[in-house]
């Protein structure tokens, strides 16, 4: 298992501007819900956006330290719309 802080630092190493929130869904550290906001997502499809994040946490996923990652990705623009409507 990995800690939320480790996941955040893995993502920010690859994507320095990213704002990252991690929710531990089960408390066991292996089912995580991660929200990432980054300018790097602009102009990319959802699949490409998720692939960027997966690449950053690849080592933890392939070792099964993380079994499941529920991902939400936003550009700063789309995030401001989502967070206003929520």
């Amino acid at each position: 298992m990995v800690t939320a802080d480790q996941v955040i630092s893995m993502i920010q190493t690859d994507m320095p501007d990213a704002e990252v929130q991690v929710n531990d869904l089960t408390g066991g550290g292996d089912h995580l819900e991660v929200t990432v906001v980054s300018e790097a997502f602009a102009g990319r499809s959802l699949v490409q956006q998720h692939q960027l994040v997966y690449k950053a946490v690849q080592s933890a996923m392939s070792s099964e330290a993380i079994h499941a990652l529920a991902l939400k990705t936003y550009t700063p623009e789309t995030w401001s719309k989502v967070s206003q409507s929520a």
């Binding site: 959802l46 699949v47 998720h50 692939q51 996923m61 939400k72």
Partner: protein
């Protein structure tokens, strides 16, 4: 990945307009994320095929490499990778999935 594994994956993807690589099958999904995808496709009422990666280790690992995507389930539409559980849910909720699938099935 071994060429014969890649060939099997390509055959599955090319022979079915909607192909789901999942844990379990459409009647008995063995994972909550796989179940999400099956439920969404059932609600849309579209025909789809599933492949149980738990039954085949080579395909289970090979599809991750093939799609450059680390998790199961994976959905292919007209031979193109559409996404996993999160993306299917998001596309369904914003209405894009219905449209994308209708266009693909009509082509």
């Amino acid at each position: 990945m071994a060429p014969e594994v890649q060939e099997r994956i390509e055959t599955l993807i090319n022979d079915n307009k909607i192909m789901v690589f999942m844990k379990g099958n459409k009647l008995m999904p063995q994972c909550g994320f796989s179940n999400n995808v099956v439920q969404i496709l059932n609600v849309l009422g579209v025909p789809f095929e599933t492949f149980d990666v738990l039954s085949d280790y080579d395909v289970r690992q090979g599809i991750k490499e093939y799609s450059n995507w680390p998790t199961i389930p994976q959905v292919y539409l007209n031979g193109e990778f559409l996404g996993g559980s999160d993306i299917l849910i998001e596309l369904y909720q914003n209405g894009q999935l219905q449209e994308t699938v209708e266009v693909a099935l009509a082509s």
